[in-house]
Symmetry: C2
Subunit: 115 residues, 2 copies
């Protein structure tokens, strides 16, 4: 058993509009992302299944060419390998769940988030 | 891509003190549980890794004989197969994450929650 507290998990500014906290367990990564209005995460894909839970705000996802606006209280499942991008339409906070663990993030391979 | 909205996901009363909403994806189950003060989930275990994010309230977890109180804003990772039980010390809401999918819940094998 391991206990975490969001207020004690390091928050990293990836660029002036995006910051990230993350927790890696055996089979999952749980990340809390803050996106200021106008933040853009460019199209990327990964072998991990993703579920985004939008806690606050509103974002526009493009997944495999399909556009969908996500509001607070909604969740979106993104299949493994699906190309996706995000634009924050308002200051937003999301919890992103991944399985398996985001080994690319663990080893610091996240340049696409830092533009 | 699949979009869900918590307010449209069926909420099932498992007993007078516990209700559950759940979403099953390819590799994960995301469940939102409401536990009224005094609710007890008896000791059980499963092969799925679990991460509990406590959103509101306070609960007492016993995991492998070790007791830990979890407050809102905290998360707890429970390893696969670890015996665990929960008591709600206040009206609480938790998001429980599992990987892989809780096939036992999918097939309705959740009698331990209904006592």
């Amino acid at each position: 058993m391991v206990v975490y507290e969001w207020s004690r998990v390091a928050e990293e500014a990836l660029n002036p509009l995006v910051s990230r906290q993350m927790i890696h367990t055996e089979r999952m990564t749980v990340a809390r992302l803050r996106l200021r209005k106008g933040a853009l995460v460019p199209e990327h894909s990964h072998m991990h299944e993703q579920v985004t839970m939008l806690i606050e705000g509103q974002v526009r996802f493009t997944v495999g060419g399909e556009v969908r606006i996500l509001s607070a209280g909604e969740l979106m499942q993104i299949p493994p390998h699906a190309p996706h991008s995000v634009e924050a339409l308002a200051d937003s906070m999301a919890i992103d769940l991944f399985s398996p663990v985001r080994d690319d993030w663990v080893r610091g391979d996240d340049a696409y988030l830092r533009r």
